[in-house]
């Protein structure tokens, strides 16, 4: 019956309870939407980093990632590539030649990272071929084809079909250069990557810079996030002289964003819930003060303090849960809806691209996060009920009956 009394007490002042329920629902809805938006941004950033830049795993020779020495090659790269491709969890793998070079047009030049690829194999590990906005992805049969980012094209003042000169150190230490024709211009969500990364065929790099079949990098895609660490460990164990790095090692800033988003979301929700505590406490306190006489009577009749406190606590939890569940349902609906249509933030696209983010954000929320919010709402209600509950049990029944 105590549950029933508490539930009915919630609805004694329907207007007041309704306003508070509305406030809680709005707070939870707004909180969930923000959290889902942050999740969406972080996940899209990770997805973009993996699919366009890092793949899941990369293999290099020891120290290559720090000094980028043209001579730091992966010994017997071809046989390692075959071994990698034979692993069950591996979906795709591609070998690359990676050089630090200079791209020059008739008017200006820019430092770049030159990546020599086998286009068909590369399609298995990155999605740059889907980002080509002008021209194609090495399909045109032209001599020395090159694909550059839109950002670099703009910087160099070149268009599709024009030539640029790629200059770098050859394997023998001399300076080598070659003229390459732009056959494709790509654009990813990361403007810095687009400015810095230039793709040519591996065979053309070998010819121009005298590196033969040298391989500097093997990029690997596995069949799911969960397989990354086990595959990386297997590769490390079998190739102790090589560096095996996961996307987290290769793009620590994105990994940090992903990890810190979860923490930021928690802080954000807690701030909202703390704000709600004050509102709930205020309403419950009004409810208790209004019923001092009644509470005095039930204490006089023999209701123990623990039961009185429990009654106030249950009222608060019921009230908060109604608002919280309403907010969660609304939040879930909004996230589902916007998760499909996305939120277009193209008004601030340049800012987002600088951080490697897409301009259309798809909010997302794991189903497992909703029960956590319900749990937090209950905790909020319990905390909010403490002061009104204490007020209720501390009253003197005689004074309450006589005064109120």
């Amino acid at each position: 019956m105590i549950w029933s009394i508490a539930w009915r007490n919630v609805w004694r002042n329907g207007k007041r309870s309704g306003i508070l329920i509305g406030a809680i629902a709005f707070g939870i809805w707004a909180g969930l939407l923000m959290v889902a938006l942050m999740n969406g941004m972080a996940e899209q950033q990770v997805k973009a980093a993996i699919e366009t830049r890092t793949s899941h795993i990369q293999i290099h020779s020891e120290g290559f990632r720090s000094h980028r020495d043209i001579k730091s090659i992966i010994p017997q790269g071809d046989s390692l590539l075959t071994a990698v491709r034979n692993m069950d969890e591996v979906v795709g793998a591609a070998e690359r030649a990676v050089l630090t070079a200079m791209a020059s047009s008739a008017t200006t030049g820019s430092g770049i990272q030159l990546i020599g690829i086998d286009p068909d194999a590369e399609k298995q590990v990155t999605d740059v071929y889907t980002k080509v906005i002008e021209g194609d992805y090495f399909e045109t049969k032209k001599r020395n084809p090159v694909i550059i980012g839109k950002e670099l094209a703009d910087k160099l003042g070149v268009q599709l079909g024009k030539k640029i000169v790629l200059t770098g150190q050859a394997k023998d230490g001399s300076i080598a250069a070659g003229a390459f024709r732009i056959v494709g211009i790509y654009q990813t969500v990361n403007s810095m990557y687009d400015e810095m990364t230039v793709f040519v065929k591996r065979s053309d790099v070998a010819k121009t810079f005298g590196i033969g079949d040298d391989v500097h990098e093997i990029a690997i895609v596995v069949n799911g996030i969960a397989a990354i660490d086990p595959v990386a460990k297997t590769l490390r164990d079998s190739n102790p002289s090589l560096e095996v790095a996961t996307w987290r090692n290769l793009s620590p800033e994105v990994a940090l964003t992903k990890d810190s988003t979860a923490q930021m979301n928690e802080i954000f929700m807690i701030v909202i819930l703390i704000a709600l505590i004050f509102g709930i406490t205020n309403t419950m306190l009004m409810g208790v003060l209004e019923r001092m006489r009644e509470l005095g009577v039930i204490i006089a009749l023999g209701m123990k303090h623990g039961m009185i406190f429990l009654m106030v606590l249950l009222e608060t939890v019921f009230l908060s849960l109604v608002g919280g569940l309403l907010g969660i349902i609304l939040g879930w609906g909004t996230v589902e809806l916007l998760g499909k249509s996305g939120i277009d933030l193209s008004a601030v696209s340049s800012g987002l691209a600088a951080f490697g983010m897409d301009t259309v954000i798809y909010p997302q929320m794991a189903a497992s996060e909703y029960p956590v919010v319900v749990f937090l709402v209950i905790i909020t209600a319990i905390v909010a009920s403490i002061y009104p509950g204490l007020k209720a049990i501390r009253l003197n029944p005689i004074q309450a009956i006589r005064t109120y």
């Binding site: 009915r8 004694r12 009644e294 006089a300 023999g302 303090h305």
Partner: protein
């Protein structure tokens, strides 16, 4: 056997630093089955006396024995439990729980006593029948008249099977017909169930029905008249 026994009971309040004796050296014994009215002008100490006997207020000096147990020294939580088991209350302003129906209001006290659902159901129905509200079980207080609410309050007071019922000005808010009706019911319960009733009252209708009338003046017993 005395259900209530007070010995040199006094209650002194501080009023702006001045001690005021609300109850002054009252020694009184109320036997089982009595129908007693405590009367006196406003400020004579009736309500204070009832509050102390009901375990709601602590005496400044003297002792109170209820059902052979000293309650004056009991701790707060112990007193709450004691009130629940031994004392039935009827208040001037009915004080029913507004969100509960008449039957639930009566059941409420038995719920606190942890009685079974079946027992609560049976006794609440019987008691509301006994006070003439057998057809109003599902009504909430705001759907009942003042007289009907006070009858529910009487049924609630009896629900816990108390040793006695303390009624503080129970007819003060009722019209004549409702007051007479209520008194009829309480008198009948007193006769049939040997339930002890102690009233504080100004109401001559209550005084006229009482078997014993204790008059207080300035906190002390002025007269104690037993009628046959």
């Amino acid at each position: 056997m005395a259900v209530i026994k007070t010995d040199h009971l006094s209650r002194v309040y501080e009023d702006h630093g001045v001690p005021v004796k609300a109850v002054d050296d009252v020694s009184l014994s109320i036997e089982e089955g009595e129908f007693t009215a405590i009367v006196g002008p406003s400020g004579s100490g009736k309500t204070t006396f009832l509050n102390m006997v009901g375990g709601l207020d602590a005496p400044s000096s003297g002792t109170i024995e209820v059902d052979g147990k000293q309650i004056s020294q009991m701790k707060q939580n112990e007193l709450i439990g004691f009130r629940l088991r031994h004392i039935g209350f009827v208040f001037q302003a009915y004080n029913l729980i507004p969100v509960l129906t008449a039957k639930e209001n009566v059941e409420f006290i038995m719920l606190l006593q942890k009685k079974s659902k079946a027992e609560r159901d049976k006794r609440a129905t019987e008691l509301l029948d006994a006070v003439g509200l057998g057809d109003r079980l599902g009504r909430r207080p705001h759907e009942l008249s003042g007289g009907q609410q006070q009858r529910v309050a009487v049924a609630r007071a009896l629900a816990s099977m108390p040793s006695f019922v303390l009624a503080d000005e129970p007819t003060a808010n009722l019209d004549s017909t409702s007051a007479e009706n209520l008194l009829d019911i309480m008198e009948r319960l007193n006769k049939e169930q040997k339930m002890t009733f102690v009233f504080s009252t100004h109401d001559p209708r209550v005084v006229a029905r009482a078997h014993r009338v204790v008059t207080l003046r300035d906190g002390a017993i002025e007269s104690d008249e037993t009628r046959s």
